[in-house]
Amino acid sequence: MFYLKLSLRNAFRHPLRAVLTITGVAVAILAFGLLRTLVGLWYLGVETSSSTRLITRSSISLVFTLPVSYRERIRHIPGVTEVSTMNWFGGIYVSEKNFFPNFAVEPKTFLALYPEFIIEDAEKKSFLKDRRGAVAGYKLAAKHGWKIGDRIILKGTIFPGEWDFVLRGIYRGAQRSTDESQFFFHWDYLNESLRRTVPRRADQVGLYVIGVDSPEKAPEVAQAIDATFRNSLAETMSETEKAFQLSFVAMTEAIMIAIKIVSYVVIVIIMVVAANTMAMTARERIAEYATMKALGFKWSHVAITVFGESLFIALLGGAIGVLLTFPTANLLEKELSQFFPVFRISPVTIYFQIAAATLVGVVSSVFPVYRASTINISEGLRRIG
């Protein structure tokens, strides 16, 4: 207990220095937590994937479409529970800054395959009935102040022209991590228009979404689908939803790796700062350490007080950093909802933050502990002031 008291008192002997160091550690731990969360977000799509859903796309690349006629054939493959279709529409609402994902889908089967999008029955019914109907996520609707019945116009990029929709439903995510910023409408509405204007682009889908009756069957079903369409005019590539999402992430992996590295760099920076603080403090207290040793304390006793002081400062700073992470994350989620629809701190991140703070405390005490425990008593006593 004596050592604890000594460490605590020593830590605040230079109040300004202690406050500065604690602030530095807090800022670093906060930044570390936010960066980790940012990287985690990138993989959000992967995490929220369902193990009973497959994605089938053109084997050449996502840029190529598949005939809608494949649907019936896929449905008859053993293990398949339901088949739906998605076309990336890429429409713009008012300006490019308001980016959100929007898709043309086969509505009934799509909602069946995505139970995490929760819509009230009445809204669901009116959406299914109205060919020009659309459903938007809660966060998206809230951001633009949309209400049921509103007319929403999207400017097409892939499919030129102005496209008119009526908002029939607003969905909520089943979990906190479900994306509530998506917008989808009837594929028939898109297709009808294409048949009239650009017939060669009609009757095409971008992706098939396939439900399988059990996760173990997934690889088997995927292979069966691809085998069905091998050597046809549009060969397919089927994979689990998780693999599909991972492939997206892999393409921007370089940036994510850079951000991960940078998040560790910030810890190194603060470690250097804290180590410097402790080294300076140790140098100034050499006479005291010598005195303690002269009085009969062993080097391990001296070491413990130094170590305790360093750890205390680091952990206090770390605790503040962790506490600050929550309001900051909330702020980011609100202000930058366009880029980060969900900015949620995971428990793992918190553990990492605490671990990082502890590491800082330990590493920064290494040199001072060594110094304090190896000084020659008489030499140390001579160094006053």
Binding site: S61, F64, L233, I259, V272, A279, M280, G385
Partner: protein, 388 residues
């Protein structure tokens, strides 16, 4: 006359460990700062150099890149008849109708898939794109299943090297040549004959039409004429502008992310500098009192410590820039969000970035050293001398 400069400098040199640690903190921050700027610069440099100032790109109106665009044969012919186009060899307009699609290819080693641009080109394409030069092998024979690959593709993707094969659109294609396109985006592309590719992919429309203007200053009037033609649903952009727009979102993201990160980090480094300078002042109280007693006024004490802080920043700045300079040998490849295609680019160090980085480190030094320097200057002589 103020306190000599060597006083400030030597005080840093005499406390080697502390100076090294504090400067290292600042060096790391400067490194991240410089690296981010270099990355954004490299990205934009790659994409901007990809365009030539006299070339025009015509794509479907509203589509943001060639990949999303479709230009019907009829519309392409109408563009070809524009009087603004320079005449090429054989008296034909210097114009190319191109097809741009993405295919999914596995990378060498990791086998991870990435989207790669395949460009179906016409004869004029090579003339229009003077940055592209055949480096190894030969050009594809007309009517064959032969393609050439950009250097970045040949190095990074399976099947992309000379003599290797790629399979797509139900055909096997042989890579018969590798082309060099410098640091432009074309190095990340595969080129083949446009007619062969259109056939294989069963695409009846082109993606874009590229031509060179006789007089680039007349671009705006040509653009108006073309876009207001009722038969056309296209838009025209200067090639340099087109590629600049392609990098905008990513460059902006990189800059914002990098800058906000750097600001947060710099807080840590500045705190480190502040702690160091406060300690320096605290350890030299008697010295400061002596200098004041000898007749140096408060301003000169302030200046001496601020100079010390600036030197600290400078050391950190240089220490951070040196490894950043080595980043120039590193190439990043990632997916460009706007074009959806794989793009390889490298870090690019410009004199502007060097200046900005050094200024930044000096600012960090001053920020950390300002308050402690004031403390040193405000000391009362007698009190300071008495503290020995």
């Amino acid at each position: 006359m103020p306190v000599p400069v060597y006083y400030s400098f030597r005080n840093l040199a005499v406390r080697r460990l502390t100076t090294a640690l504090t400067a290292s903190g600042m060096a790391l921050v400067v490194f991240v700062f410089a690296a981010t700027l270099m990355l954004a610069e490299g990205l934009q440099k790659t994409l901007v150099e990809t365009g030539s100032p006299d070339n025009v790109v015509v794509i479907r109106k509203g589509s943001q890149s060639e990949v999303q665009s479709g230009v019907e044969r009829l519309q392409a012919s109408i563009v070809e008849s524009l009087p603004d186009i320079v005449m090429g060899e054989e008296g034909r307009p210097l114009l190319a109708k191109e097809l741009v699609v993405l295919i999914n290819l596995p990378k060498r080693g990791s086998k991870k898939p990435a989207n790669v641009v395949i460009r179906g080109v016409g004869g004029a394409s090579y003339t229009l794109r003077s940055q592209v030069k055949l480096a190894e092998g030969r050009m594809p024979r007309p009517g064959s299943s032969e393609i050439i690959a950009g250097r970045s593709i040949a190095e990074r993707f399976e099947g992309g090297g000379i003599g290797e094969h790629l399979r797509f659109a139900m055909r096997d294609w042989t890579v018969v040549g590798i082309f060099d396109a410098g640091s432009t985006g074309f190095s990340s592309e595969i080129w083949g004959d446009v007619d062969q590719l259109m056939q294989s992919f069963r695409r009846p429309v082109y993606s874009s039409v590229i031509f060179r203007m006789r007089d680039a200053t007349a671009f705006d009037s040509m653009k108006n004429r073309l876009e207001s033609d009722p038969r056309m649903t296209v838009e025209a952009k200067l090639e340099t502008r087109y590629y600049l727009d392609q990098s905008e979102a990513m460059a902006k993201f990189l800059r914002i992310l990098g800058l906000s990160l750097t600001i947060i980090f710099s807080l840590g480094a500045v705190i480190g500098a502040m702690i160091t300078m406060y300690a320096a002042v605290a350890n030299r109280v008697v010295e400061i009192g002596t200098l004041r007693a000898l007749g140096f006024n408060r301003a000169s004490i302030l200046q001496a410590f601020i100079l010390e802080a600036l030197f600290l920043g400078l050391i950190g700045g240089v220490a951070g820039l040196v490894p950043a300079a080595f980043l120039q040998f590193v190439t990043i490849s990632t997916m460009n969000w706007q074009s959806f295609a794989e793009l390889a680019f490298s870090f690019s160090l410009s004199p502007g970035i060097i200046v900005k980085s050094l200024l930044f480190s000096l600012v960090m030094g001053i920020s950390g050293g300002l308050l402690p320097s004031f403390r040193a200057a405000r000391m009362d002589i007698v009190g300071a001398l008495r503290s020995s």
